[in-house]
Symmetry: C2
Subunit: 219 residues, 2 copies
C-alpha cells in the first residue's frame, strides 16, 4: 500500500504529531500549511511535501483538519496499536524509563523489567515486576513482546541482543553505548546519549572559536 | 581556523570516537580506512572524506595512528576541556543522568542539580547537591556553568530555558518534550525520547506490513 518513504521524512513525523497535539490542546481544529510552517519553523512547502507522502490530508485553500491529521499520523506511527515492552537492565536509565508514564499514553506498555542484580530481582517499579535475565526465554514464550529496551552496560548488550533475536524479538530500543550487529530484519533505534552530549560540546567549542575569531560578541 | 563543517559530518564524529576507543582498548594502534570501514559499516571513501574535513590524519598506504586520531577527534569534540553541567529537573531522568558517571570521564562534570520539589531540595545525588530553582541566578553568578540539562515537564521548560539564557548560559541539552524557541546564539541539542520511540514503532509497523504483503516471512 505505502510507497517507500525516506527515513528523513519519517524522522519528522513524531514532530508533526507533537505539534498537532499542541494545536488540539489549544482547541485549534483547522490549520493551513502556512500557519503550521510558522509554528514549526519549517517551510510550508516542506510540510506539504512531507504530508503528501502519506496521501496529503489537506485541501487547497482550506487547511488541514487537525484531529484527522493527528489521528492519521498516529496510525502511520503505529500508535493505534499496543506495543508491549520489556526493559533489560534496571539501572538508572532503565528505572527512569520504567517510571515514565507518558509512554503508556501512546500505547507503549511496559510488561516486564529484567536485571542480573539479585537485590532488584523480585521487586517491582510502578507495579512492573523485575525478573532475572535468566527468566527471559520463559517470559517471552508466555507474553507477546514487541519491543525490548536495552539499558545495560555495553559489554553485556551484544550478547543479550543476540538472545533477544533468537527469542524472536525483532525491535530493539538501544541505549547501550555501542552499535548492535544484528540481522537486517531486526529494527533497531539507538539513543546514544554520550554521542548527543559530544555533539553539543562540539557546537559549544565551535561557537567559542567563532566568537574569538570575530573578536567581539557580535550578533 | 576551521572551515564550516556540515552537522551531518559532526554527527558522525562521536561514533568515530567510540570505535577508536574500542580499538585502543583492544591494543590496536594503527588502522587503515578499509579496516575501519568494515568495522563501522560505512564506506572507506566516506571515512576518508569525513576525516579530511579536519585535515586528514592519515598517510596513504600507512593507515591512521589510532591514538593520534582519537586524541584529535576528542579535541574537535571539545573533550579536552572541562564542561561544567547543571541539571534542572531532578525527576527520574535527571536523577538517572546525575548518577551516570561515564560523562565525567569525558570531562562533563555535574556541579549542581535543581528542582522545585521541597522533598528533594537540600539533599544530594552522588555528592552533587540539589538546590531550589530559585537559587539558580545566585548559583550561576558564583559558578562557571557551560551546559544546562533540561529534564523537566514541557510546561516548565520554556520559562526555565529563557531564564538560563538571561543568566548567560548558552548551551542546553534538552530532554523536555518540546522545541525551545531561543536566540540563535544558544546551542541546543535535543533528546526527544518519545520521538525516538515513535520512529521505532513506525519501523515495526512498516516491517509487519511488508511481511504481510509479501505473504511469507522472506527476507
Amino acid at each position: 500500500m505505502q510507497k517507500e518513504i525516506s527515513q528523513a521524512v519519517i524522522r519528522r513525523m513524531p514532530r508533526y504529531y507533537r505539534y498537532l497535539r499542541e494545536l488540539l490542546d489549544e482547541g485549534i481544529d483547522r490549520i493551513s500549511s502556512n500557519e503550521l510552517s510558522v509554528r514549526m519553523k519549517v517551510t510550508a512547502s516542506q510540510i506539504r511535501q512531507d504530508l503528501n507522502n502519506f496521501g496529503g490530508f489537506g485541501q487547497q485553500g482550506y487547511g488541514y483538519n487537525v484531529q484527522y491529521l493527528y489521528d492519521e499520523i498516529g496510525k502511520i506511527l503505529g500508535l493505534d496499536c499496543q506495543h508491549n515492552i520489556i526493559v533489560i537492565g534496571t539501572g538508572n536509565m532503565g528505572q527512569a524509563l520504567a517510571k515514565y508514564v507518558n509512554f503508556e499514553k501512546r500505547g507503549f506498555i511496559m510488561i516486564g523489567l529484567f536485571d542480573v542484580n539479585p537485590a532488584l530481582i523480585g521487586s517491582s517499579i510502578r507495579g512492573i515486576p523485575i525478573f532475572s535475565v535468566e527468566e527471559l526465554p520463559a517470559f517471552v514464550r508466555d507474553h507477546r513482546v514487541d519491543i525490548a529496551v536495552l539499558t545495560l552496560p555495553k559489554n553485556q548488550a551484544e550478547q543479550i541482543a543476540n538472545l533477544l533475536v533468537k527469542l524472536d524479538i525483532h525491535a530493539i530500543w538501544n541505549f547501550a553505548h555501542l552499535d548492535l550487529n544484528l540481522p537486517e530484519d531486526v529494527v533497531v533505534e539507538n539513543v546514544h546519549l554520550s554521542d548527543s552530549l559530544m555533539q553539543l560540546s562540539y557546537n559549544i567549542v565551535k561557537k567559542r572559536m567563532e566568537e574569538e575569531s570575530s573578536g567581539t560578541a557580535e550578533k
